[in-house]
């Protein structure tokens, strides 16, 4: 049986007993590259991506899971990286906006559709919108406009580019079905 982790301030600054630790060695893949890091368990995946791995395409909006600007894929599924403790990425494959372009640097079809359908104005929410849109299509949740709107509701756009965003995601979904 491990020694109790005490709740006073001393306990917070002294080394805890196994299996607990305050520095956690974590390994995962980001955009097809292996990453190993020693993490403070407080660090969010969002902060690790931006501040440690210098992948600043993923944006910090609200930092509380309300806005979707920080959406990335973990093992192919969309999550908000601001509410993902980075230690939970252990053993997973993370994809960010930097990892979706083709091998020759050509835009992902959803990125191209955002250009074609004028689906952005300031662009701050766009990386999250694109990551959410790609997952929405993969999940099969972009079958019609109403369903796409419902399943993209976790991504806010202060510029109000929603009609273009829905049109872009729907256009790619229709092409993938055909």
């Amino acid at each position: 049986m491990a020694t109790p982790v005490r709740t006073d301030e001393t306990a917070r600054t002294t080394a805890p007993s196994p299996p607990f630790s305050t520095t956690v060695h974590v390994g995962f893949r980001v955009n097809d590259e292996d990453v190993e890091l020693d993490l403070d368990p407080r660090e969010s995946l969002l902060d690790v991506l931006r501040e440690r791995l210098e992948l600043t395409g993923t944006k910090k909006g609200c930092d509380h899971g309300h806005c979707g600007a920080c959406t990335v894929h973990v093992d192919g599924r969309r999550v908000v990286s601001c509410l993902t403790p980075a230690v939970q990425a252990q053993g997973t494959a993370v994809t960010t906006i930097e990892g979706v372009a083709g091998p020759g640097g050509e835009l992902h079809p959803v990125q191209q559709a955002f250009v074609d359908h004028d689906a952005l104005q300031c662009g701050y929410c766009t990386p999250g919108q694109v990551m959410s849109g790609i997952a929405c299509i993969d999940e099969g949740h972009a079958g019609d406009d109403a369903q796409a709107r419902e399943y993209l509701s976790g991504n806010l756009c202060r510029c109000g580019a929603y009609p273009g965003i829905v049109a872009a995601v729907r256009a790619v979904a229709d092409r993938s079905e055909g």
């Binding site: 805890p16 368990p41 407080r42 230690v87």
Partner: protein, 334 residues
């Protein structure tokens, strides 16, 4: 965020041992969408966290059995929302999950953790300078004198009027679900109806779980009544918002359209998942019409106590129940 120690044990027994070893203020971490968020705000500050989000024992879902549906506590909301048996035979369960949060959060959050999301309001989340008996027992309640438009009208007390924000538990309580829990004193089964407290004079105590107890699974007795069911959720915006009022309803009808079984539970208006048993009784033996549905809605809200800005919720909830019963009736097997 306050520093904390982290452990990710490989099994349920190891997780329980770790939590006990870490002391009474340690917390289990699953999807993190509530706990980690509140830790960022400093409202929660556990000294140690035991991560259970990927324990394989907690991931099992079995909806094929003849007697009960079984949902491992660690199953993801997004996955359970698309279970084909739920979509066909238990639309109220599937809809309660699909209408909760956003797809990103549903992909992260677990069906067990969702039951335990904090009953909370903006004054709780806001921290100082707001008084909150839940955050700091005995400090008062800023909501009672403040903006209470989102707050509860059922099950409130002079200490707390925060709304239980979950949807899934509301649908589950209507179907007599139970949870299996394991803790330092062994295993036990708790009816969902007995899992949450009303705030009373101790709003900081939200559930009847003892320190160190972990929900392993949720079980729902199978019922044909749930084929005629819905989770009807009325919000300020069409998607990704808390309920202003919601109703989980299910009805079974005989060949003449007379109600033989009725289930009604409310969300968005109460301090805990709220089963409206008296309202159910008004329906059984009666034909399902707009009038009988409305009467059931009024019975469900009979004890409601409005605050300063949330009086509209009472009529809204009556109409939500009425509408939800109509939808359930259209789906019911006769």
């Amino acid at each position: 965020m306050r520093p904390f120690a982290y452990a990710a044990p490989a099994s349920v027994p190891e997780a329980l041992d770790a939590l006990v070893a870490a002391g009474p203020d340690a917390r289990f971490l699953a999807g993190g969408t509530t706990l980690y968020d509140l830790m960022k705000l400093g409202v929660e500050a556990p000294p140690a966290v035991v991560d259970v989000h990927r324990l394989p024992e907690l991931a099992v879902v079995d909806t094929a059995g003849p007697d009960e549906l079984v949902f491992g506590a660690g199953a993801r909301m997004a996955d359970v929302a698309e279970d084909p048996v739920l979509l066909r035979d238990y639309p109220m369960l599937a809809e309660s999950l699909a209408k909760a949060a956003s797809q990103q959060l549903r992909t992260m959050a677990t069906v067990g953790g969702n039951l335990l999301q904090r009953t909370r309001c903006s004054y709780f989340r806001g921290g100082a300078p707001f008084a909150c008996n839940k955050r700091e027992p005995g400090s008062g309640c800023s909501a009672l004198e403040g903006i209470d438009r989102a707050h509860a009208v059922l099950g409130t007390s002079d200490s707390c009027i925060a709304t239980y924000a979950g949807d899934w538990a509301v649908a589950l309580i209507a179907l007599d679900a139970v949870v299996d829990v394991l803790g330092p004193d062994g295993a036990r089964t708790v009816a969902l109806a007995d899992l949450h407290h009303e705030p009373g004079s101790h709003p900081e105590r939200e559930t009847t779980l003892a320190a160190g107890e972990l929900i392993l699974r949720i079980r729902v007795p199978t019922t044909r009544t749930a084929r005629g069911s819905t989770y009807h959720k009325i919000r300020d915006r069409e998607s990704y918002a808390f309920a202003l009022a919601s109703a989980a309803t299910a009805v079974a009808l005989d060949a003449d359209g007379v109600v033989t079984d009725a289930r009604i539970a409310l969300g968005g208006v109460a301090t805990r998942p709220w089963r409206a048993a008296a309202a159910e009784r008004t329906l059984v033996g009666a034909p399902l019409t707009v009038d009988t549905a409305r009467r059931a809605g009024e019975a469900a809200l009979a004890g409601a106590r409005p605050g300063r800005h949330n009086g509209f919720k009472i009529e809204l909830a009556v109409r939500t129940v009425t509408d939800a019963l109509r939808i359930a009736g259209e789906r019911a097997v006769q």
